[in-house]
């Protein structure tokens, strides 16, 4: 093979390798973008069921991390997504099955519910404020002033859930609330309890990774 042809071949091979490398490089960033889940519309309005667990599924890349999941009303169908799609300017109804034990709030200001339409129901009973040491997590959308503390399950219970998925028979607190979605756009939500065990100030790891303790609200 002549010198020039050899160089052309080598250049072509390197070019393909470089393009493949770039593709893989960009792909490594994109594969970790969590998917999104749409809230279901039922006869009684728009509903979404979520669950918070002390540790993600054993097959998850981070099986030790706390996490939110999207579930159904019987807590049997579990999806690991934290982007929720809801219609604009509508009253939506969230129900959260809270399976984790308490950590306590960093800022006790978040012990009071805010931004909901009507009261928040904790195991069926309405309450406006909880003990600041009680929450295991919160669900908050700062851009619209929504903040709901989620009390922890009884730490002494015998049937605490270890890893997702958790059945309804495991110890949990059911929190449900309604709020009016804002205008179309992308909003973010997060937990305000420093619940990332093993990370300094409890705010690393799952708190800083979309798909665990924070996500987006896609209002369409």
């Amino acid at each position: 093979m002549s010198g020039r042809a050899a160089r052309a071949l080598v250049t072509a091979v390197i070019l393909v390798a470089v393009c493949a490398g770039i593709g893989i490089y960009i792909g490594l960033y994109l594969i970790n973008v969590p998917g999104s889940v749409a809230a279901t519309s039922t006869a009684t309005g728009t509903q979404l069921y979520l669950a918070t667990v002390p540790a993600a599924e054993l097959t998850d890349p981070h099986p030790d991390w706390v996490s939110y999941y999207v579930v159904n009303s019987s807590s049997t169908d579990w999806r690991h997504d934290t982007t929720f799609q809801v219609p604009a300017n509508t009253l939506v109804h969230f129900t959260i099955y809270q399976y984790d034990t308490a950590t306590g709030l960093r800022n006790p200001y978040f012990s009071q519910t805010a931004g909901t339409d009507g009261s928040v129901l904790y195991n069926g009973k309405p309450a406006a404020v909880v003990n600041p040491a009680a929450p295991a997590h919160t669900f908050a959308i700062p851009q619209i002033g929504l903040s709901v503390p989620l009390p922890g399950a009884n730490a002494n219970a015998k049937n605490l859930c270890a890893n997702a998925p958790c059945p309804l028979s495991d110890a949990h607190v059911t929190v449900s609330f309604t709020f009016r979605t804002p205008a179309k756009g992308l909003y973010r939500w997060q937990c305000f309890v420093p619940c990332a065990a093993g990370f300094i100030q409890g705010n690393g790891g799952p708190m800083q990774t979309v798909g665990y303790m924070g996500g987006f609200l896609k209002v369409v």
């Binding site: 490089y25 960033y29 099986p63 990774t209």
Partner: protein, 637 residues
């Protein structure tokens, strides 16, 4: 002066060339070292606290740091850096016997080489590679910022992109000009055959490569969300990706310290007779000024990161408030390094531009001593200004006027450099070659970078602009508009001598004009974005700023495309066309151009005799092409 023992080994053929101490062995031993540290030793380091945190968080920081450390050690041992120290400890005589032979072709570039010209070319390719990776990150960042409410990347992936772009550019481009060009040119310019410590020279290169690879592994560990400044305690909160950041800057810090040390030792001790301090080319002075900063500032970074490592691994509290630590400690330690660091980036640009405009205006450097004073003044003052990064942080308010003054004062020696450039052009005979175009663009870009720096140094003005895109525009104008433009000027200027082939001039001019226009189109609006209230490192922004952001993103894509033009030029001209370059295409009177192309392994046969005048232009009118009987730059053969 000892003679150099050049003992070429028996040339190997075929696959046997891959055996022995080279990059392949280094990679294999490096991977082995990683696994020993991370998988074998790491999980067995038990302290009660450590085990608990590792289980809860699912990451073993000790294992990762050990893995990186042993990986780098393995890599360097595999390359052969341990051979000479071990031999000497066993009693062998000093020698420079490794790999100075002219055989072995391409394999020289994948191993430990004591030929400074090989190390220079290794730097050029290695730095070029990571420069383009970091540039790719910038394209991805601008893609994310096209729309405030549509996210292409996840929020934490975006922050990793931002951090990777910044860290990789800062770590790699500190040696961006000195690595390829000081290594290649400095010994020749001072009449020596080598740097003072050739193995250290090669060591700094390979350590930088190892560090850059470590930085890229952050993607596999979740990335880091602190940006290149790595503030604590946010970094402490990070997942294992932050350990890659620490590993990278540890390697960069050590490489920088040793590199600066090598340059200083070379210039101080290895100058040929007749090469006095007042006769040094201005590029050598620029390298010297930069090297003092590298030597003195880089260790601070290593210290700051060592403490961060201890916070993350063995639960100390250097930066944890409430436990005796302080977030201010990291900020101050980091910026004590960080501010000289940005002058490490800027000073080589000063040296290159002043060196090159002499050739293309065909006049001696105007104000040679003033230029030296300017560069040394900048270097000295750069240690006294770091708190201007902390004006609104709650630092002691009494100190702010002092740092405002010191930062404003730095513009005076910088102004000297501008005066030298402008004076050199006065009544010159300016030729608009591609290197000269880049140098002239440097003047324009650094003007805006410098003036915006004056605004930032003024505390009342800084209150609005700190932490906003105004700062981003300022440092991109100085670092990219300054350093990177000088980097390309140096490439177009010295490639004919380093590689023996011409780069296509037309493609070079296209590269220049597209880059210059798109660069300004990309970064000038960032001043406005910052002034309109957009903070740095944000994944979303006010919707009324979308128009400006889209303009910037499109311009950035064009800027990226200009780099592709450059890459095409390099591959085409050096790979295919291979038009042999004349010995002295720019008719420069500097010594490197009086040597033949390619420059022989040992550079000079005899000590060069230097004209006492470093820039003898206009002293005797030399017609084009006529070889001077006694080249003013020194006899080379």
């Amino acid at each position: 002066m000892s003679t150099i023992a050049v003992t070429p080994g028996a040339p190997r053929t075929g696959w046997r060339q891959l055996l022995g101490f080279n990059m392949l062995t280094g990679i294999i031993l490096g991977i082995g070292g990683w696994f020993i540290g991370y998988s074998a030793i790491g999980p067995h380091i038990h302290g009660v606290g450590v085990a608990y945190y590792a289980t809860e968080s699912g990451q073993n920081d000790i294992g990762i740091m050990l893995g990186y450390f042993l990986g780098v050690v393995g890599f360097l041992v595999g390359l052969g850096f341990a051979n000479y120290p071990v031999q000497r400890m066993l009693g062998a005589a000093p020698s420079l016997a490794e790999k100075e032979s002219e055989e072995q072709g391409l394999f020289r570039y994948f191993s430990l080489s004591t030929d400074h010209k090989v190390v220079g070319k290794q730097y050029m390719i290695g730095i070029g590679l990571f420069f383009f990776v970091a540039g790719l990150n910038a394209m991805l960042i601008r893609t994310e910022l096209l729309q405030p409410n549509v996210h292409v990347f996840g929020a934490n992936q975006y922050l990793t992109l931002v951090g990777l772009h910044g860290a990789m550019m800062m770590g790699v481009m500190t040696s961006g000009i000195l690595g390829p060009f000081a290594n290649w040119l400095l010994p020749i310019m001072i009449g020596s055959r080598r740097m003072a410590f050739p193995r250290i020279e090669s060591f700094t290169f390979w350590l930088l490569m190892a560090g850059s690879v470590i930085l890229l592994t952050t993607i596999f560990f979740g990335g880091f969300q602190t940006g290149w400044t790595g503030y604590q305690p946010l970094g402490d909160q990070g997942t294992a990706g932050y350990d890659a950041y620490i590993g990278f800057f540890a390697c960069v810090g050590i490489a920088m310290t040793l590199f600066g040390f090598n340059i200083i030792a070379t210039i101080v001790t290895m100058r040929a007779p007749g090469m006095t301090w007042s006769r040094l080319p201005i590029f050598a002075w620029g390298s010297f000024a930069t090297a003092t900063l590298m030597l003195l500032a880089a260790p601070m970074l290593i210290a700051a990161l060592l403490m961060a490592t201890m916070d993350r691994t063995v639960q100390t509290a250097f930066y944890v408030p409430g436990q005796g630590g302080s977030s201010y400690l990291f900020e101050n330690l980091f910026w004590f390094f960080g501010h000289p660091e940005v002058y490490i980036l800027a000073l080589p640009g000063f040296g290159v531009v002043m060196e090159l405009i002499v050739v293309f205006a065909r006049k001696p450097l105007w104000g040679y001593r003033l230029g030296i004073a300017g560069m040394l003044g900048v270097a000295f003052l750069s240690f006294f200004v770091w708190q201007h990064h902390l004006f609104v942080s709650g630092m002691n308010a009494d100190l702010r006027p002092f740092y405002m003054l010191s930062t404003e004062l730095i513009s005076v020696p910088t102004g000297f450099v501008f005066l030298c450039v402008m004076g050199t052009l006065w009544r010159g005979r300016i030729r608009f070659t591609v290197p000269m175009l880049f140098c002239l663009a440097w003047v324009f870009n650094f003007l805006w970078g410098g003036i915006s720096g004056v605004f930032l140094s003024d505390v009342p003005s800084d209150v609005t602009t700190h932490g906003s895109f105004f700062v981003m525009a300022h440092f991109h104008y100085t670092i990219m508009g300054g350093l990177v433009f000088a980097f390309f000027a140096a490439i177009y200027y010295w490639v004919p001598k380093m590689y023996g082939f011409n780069l296509n001039e037309r493609l070079g001019k296209i590269h220049f004009w597209v880059m210059f226009i798109s660069f300004n189109s990309t970064f000038a609006p960032l001043f406005a974005l910052g002034l309109l209230g957009m903070p740095r490192r944000v994944v979303t922004y006010a919707t009324n700023l979308q128009g400006l952001n889209d303009w910037v993103s499109v311009s950035a894509y064009v800027l990226g495309a200009s780099m592709l033009v450059f890459l095409f030029n390099v591959v085409w001209s050096l790979g295919f066309k291979r038009e042999p370059a004349p010995v002295n295409p720019w008719h420069s009177k500097s010594i490197e151009w009086q040597l033949p192309t390619p420059v022989p392994v040992h550079d000079f046969d005899r000590f060069p005799v230097f004209d006492p005048d470093p820039y003898p232009y206009g002293v005797e009118q030399v017609p084009a092409g006529a070889p001077a009987t006694a080249p003013a730059g020194g006899a080379a053969a």
